[in-house]
Subunit: 252 residues, 8 copies
């Protein structure tokens, strides 16, 4: 309920069209977000075509399909992440029009495609093993209406390959850089490029990588000030952040 | 050395004005950054008026003054963070025109003030104890040419105060949110506001706060996707990231 | 042996009906709890109808059935938690009258239902993944004779939904709030509600959630003083604590 | 603003005594908590005589005095915890009527003493070193209007002393049990007594006690289900929780 | 080679029965332990009948059988710990006279039974889940020639049961006490009994038990000074230590 | 109250010299330990001449002197560990007959010296830095009536020096081995010697020694089975354990 | 492109055989390493016959075969580590000439065998369980053209066996020493031998070995200064380091 | 005692010049190292002029002077690390000829300078704060007879400066690279240079650097295989390792 509606209600009371008790009741019964706090629910579609998201890890195929169903009733686009093959199978069976994004372990069920923003987000990673995390970022960016440039053939061990990509990197509005092991790639990219860089530590590694802790600490302690970081393997979160920058830059 | 200069050199060789050996020598002797990798040195002033920064923790007053001196020779603005009172005294004695930013434990020595960008960065914190970190962010934003809105009278315990500030929060280009203890404030802000939010865990707390680890983990695991995080107490780094967003939004 | 019995024994000695040696022997042979320390055995039924509990994790189906058998010999109600499907199958086969609480991974075998206390305990959680822990709390509350209100459709991301439940929350005698990831929900509830709140960190999350450590630390460091916490995933323990408050409030 | 006041406002609008615009203005200008979310600010006095609290650690004496001053303007009782001697000196100099609670490292500045509830909270600890934490709990309980029984001469090493206190322990509405090192005391008390027990791990110990982590883990993993736990050294938080139980039991 | 043998060799040289070169050769060829450092090899049988031990975790059935074979060639008794069912099957098939100790996940292959010492070692644990660790201790004690008293029906939750066993506990030469979760049992036993107590933290528990770390820390920080501790789940090591005490007490 | 006293009481009841109510009263009023659980208080003197112990860390000089006073009233020997110079000064001023053990940071106040047992305990350490911990063990052993052999000139780096001490090592009833850094010395000693070895990790080291954690883990994971371990820097606890072995071996 | 080639290109420009634009194009199109930074790509063959390496963990058999194929196109030798049986099967099926190194979980596909250096690297480990890590080191050393001496029959528990191998140990150019549990073996070897020793902590152990952390910390804190360490289970990395020493010693 | 000496002894026995008992006595009385295990004592001078080393941290000035004195009696060069100013003062007062290495927090007392090897070790670090660790490495290298090239003006943030030093880096026999924060410098150097690189994590940093853990983990998980690592701040240990390589390369 924005100020306009609240004023209308008060005017109805003043006009005698609405008894104080009735007004009180209506004020009480109204959904909270109508009182101006809609933004408090960040899962809601902020722009036309934005999807509702399901974090599928730890949910049974039945639960996921049920949630998809509920979302579909509101006409939302639906986006599922961290899907097991069983979840994908169940969703595709129930919704043949859904799309499986294999490398990203995700599915999308798009009714109304989002408007696509100008500019692009660069999604960078070093090797084969980081690709699932990077692809989760890619698909998330896309369902939010962003164009994406994948820059996957770079790694600290072959830093010249990274450097030959400098123009594509610098051309991005924001960069998402995924790295496991010692997690140095985001530091190097942030040192090379003047755009906002979001580091995603991945759980790739062994021994003292501690499931991504070493990479996380490496990024948090980076000398390349200005780098910000999200949770281990959280390609989704990095994409949300990069998309909010891209939207802002494009004045939306 | 950009492509233009490289081509000029090659043309001089073609024209016989420069012998191949001489060209080889010059290619070898040129500073690396001239080959187009200047950006690799992210400490250099990227725009007119940007300062050189000294992380003063663990440096003696003499060392700091010496570094300031060297920077001053290049005519740079100078910005010192994490200063002990002894460092401040030594710098102010050597450079009376330097400015001490008490709450931020910082000093600035500005010769040529930076151009100020339109828009503002909101710097948010909950209580008295987080202010040094927040102020480090504020001063850093300012020396980088950003306007800042301080929103310090808010905390999760009094969430309504935060909500009454929603317009100032939403009006920012980017938000820096500092919080210690369980570190919930950035999550709440990121839930309320659609702009990029950078969380700064602070080392404020005791017992199982483990010097900021609890706050850091709280932010990394936030349900409010899109929040990104920097190192514990790293107001400086958060400001660099926020400034890069603000610059981008303002087309610079 | 309560005071009455001890006095009777002493009177028998005084009356010469029992020789000192015999009395000594009987004092020695009596179970310890008869000497007035019954409470030291907190597993015993403290009120009529309270069940004996089996923590089934790490026990074979055979072991569990054997323990149930022993408990049944004393006529106790039996309550099994952390059951694998195999354990459930074995128990149901041996005791067809046992009830399987699917979502709670638990079974009950109730001979004499507990008296039900007035008032209710609110069990709160945010999403699908926390439900097993929340349901363990629900079933435990119920077998201890408490009524329960489930408030499962709330989460920090949709804080308004929580607020619309404020009356049901405030109406409870005690609240059990389960949350994974950054574990902020108990803080928010404890900030809204003046009743005792018991936080249950769940192991839901990934990466830097470290199997529930982030949620646990978040709750321990909560600004919302007055919140108390139990072990990760310990819905059972939270229910015992909440039940002891409810019993106390109802003067039992 | 409670419902009554809101209804009165609406009635004034209905009666034409207040224009809709004026009503809108007043609704907007009112403190947020007047809209029914007062409870969201858990620091406010929930009952007559409740104090405002200052966590003094990391604050300068000047800052503390300044905050006290602001609170005093609202006529609040004031309660300061984690005070250095310098803070105490500054407060006592500014407010000679303030009371220093030496063992608790706290001060109180009471204008209007709280009503005292019937029943009592037992505060238990083992040795000399845990007393500062226990006393913080004691003073907090008292400023919240609770009577307290100190039971300090007990420890796991002399478990019989604990048992001789069983009646005083059982007579409490709630128990706060402080312990460092392996933190076993709360488990033992929770095993003996049927009342709610809140464990406070203290940072007392050395080596592998890791500043209270061993005690914290010991309490979280206690076999004595029903025990709940607060942060290391958090006597204040335990007291808030115990006081909320005592208030509830006394129907307030 | 003890001094006597060395002297004999030197005398043979002196007598000309052995050439210096031959003596040098024999000195070189002799197993190192013959030079007086036999004790450096603590795996060797220290007394007649002591077994050679195989830690089977992470070894294939083939590897284990091969090692058994090699040991059998020296006529040693053989003792295998941490056996998977596959290892047991392979050993029993190769050596039908081997004995499977089911609860201990161990096997023994005894050619020459050890002399049995007077006195006994008490092996104590609380519940069903700790039994594999306790039984590993029991079997180890036995193959080393110690008598064992199992005291398994005790736990901190039912401390009176422990106390009724006080005489059997006090009668032991040394006690091995296994406990998971908060690991309080060894502390309690060490508080009750004046004999050497060796605590074995077990990995039983969940959440913040961290696979036995909570129990380990609890034991290390025990107020019951005099308690010593071995690695998590290391029933074998505790038994070696207890056996060395029992041997000493019996003058061997 | 031992059985004899309890029988006497019952006989008084039988003889009519004591009314059942009076007997009940006396049974209730008697200190718990009189009921046969004296051992539960492990701080009490177990043998004539055993001292009461004060862990002085974190206690003020005044508190320590006060505790000494109370202990002196019972005629106990007193033993204080972890003393600051201020504590020592205060104790020596109040009790000039007290003895300061400088290297051990301890004092003793002996009224009635303990009987000295035959045999000796070996206290072993590698270097200068471990000596405070080793000396705490030495003084503790002595006040408990044990003879001690110090073997301080050995370290893994000069393992031959250790080996030249093999006879003194093997001659001990029990060995206490203190080591910081990687904590390998106890493993090596336990490998050489067949007597019970108690490892004491010390907090000596830097960097990844983590205040003794590396040494603690090294000892817990030792291949030299049979080694048991106490808390970091806990020379006192190791001595209690070693003394209990020595007492046992000497049939006391 | 080495200097010679660069000079040739410049001479072609000078000679008019190549236009400046064409030269610019060729400079741009050339692989970065040709500009003199070849070393930046440490994965490239540094000497004739050096293999390209694939870290196969977390890659599907299809991905591995695809990468092998790509490498084969450049005529490289190929070396795959951390292979599952499925990966091995797929590679052998696609490349029957590939060799499976069973104990090392590796395969090699050698077209042109490397030149073999004089001298040898000693690879040392204690027991059966460390062999996979040690063998990864062995195979890596060999594909890099080093001879290897395996010394596997040694362990701290049987230190004399180690000492009898002293000549073979001392004869090596560099030593790789693998150990799990407390990780003492590299310290002991580094104490005995004057050659560079590289410690490889293995994840062998249980309980407080924490998957190799105890061994890692033991090696990092070793008193035997001069020992350097690689990641847990990183036999490959240790071999690279040892090979670089061996190459250096042999003047290559 | 080498084989030659042992054979001579045996020949003396054979010749009757030495009685078997006398030979036995001499074998027994000889220092252990004479039996061929001298290397076991790695602190002894391995080559002429090598110093004895004192780790001064945690030692009083008196203790250090006493140890220096003892070493001087054997005519050794003496080298003290981790010195407080008080230690330096005491040593310089006692031995005016001692040299204070200020930046390295070390002193040397050289009687007979070591022979200087050809070749050099490069000691690399990024900034002012890492210099104490780097200088400890430098001084250690020098007292061991190595020439050193300091390369201190390089850091990941200015990677081109590092690259301009490539020839000096590549020219070294071995490299010691010190870095704090995320510890990326050794990875980058190891990627650029084919020589053995030893990484020294420093405790420089704040927040999630955890006193050097982040840097340590970064180095252990480096993609730049072949890098080996020593303990945090252990410049001394890195120098010992580098010196052993340099000695080897120079055939000593």
């Amino acid at each position: 309920m924005d100020s306009a509606k609240l004023k209308a209600l008060l005017e109805a009371v003043a006009a005698g069209d609405l008894a104080p008790d009735g007004a009180l009741e209506r004020l009480r019964g109204m959904p909270f977000e109508d009182l101006g706090f809609a933004k408090i629910d960040h899962h809601r579609s902020l722009r036309k075509g934005y999807p509702e998201t399901i974090f599928c890890a730890g949910k049974t195929p039945e639960q996921v399909v049920q949630i998809v169903e509920r979302m579909r009733e509101h006409g939302s686009n639906v986006f599922g992440t961290r899907c097991t093959p069983e979840v994908i199978d169940a969703v595709l069976k129930a919704y043949p029009q859904a799309v499986h994004h294999d490398a990203a372990r995700a599915f999308t069920l798009i009714v109304e495609p989002p408007d696509v923003l100008p500019g692009y987000i660069a999604v960078v990673c070093a090797g084969t093993s980081d690709i699932p995390v990077a692809e989760e970022a890619v698909v998330t960016c896309k369902v939010l209406g962003n164009r994406v440039e994948r820059i996957y053939d770079v790694g600290v061990a072959g830093i010249h390959r990274l450097i030959t990509q400098r123009e594509r990197l610098e051309g991005a509005t924001a960069l998402i850089v995924c790295a496991g092991m010692e997690g140095a790639l985001p530091s190097v990219v942030a040192g090379l490029i003047s755009k906002p860089v979001i580091g995603v530590p991945t759980s790739i590694g062994y021994g003292a990588s501690f499931g991504g802790i070493a990479a996380l600490l490496g990024m948090l302690n980076s000398c390349a000030s200005g780098l910000t970081v999200v949770n281990i393997d959280n390609g989704f979160g990095a994409a949300i952040a990069a998309a909010s920058i891209n939207r802002l830059v494009n004045g939306k």
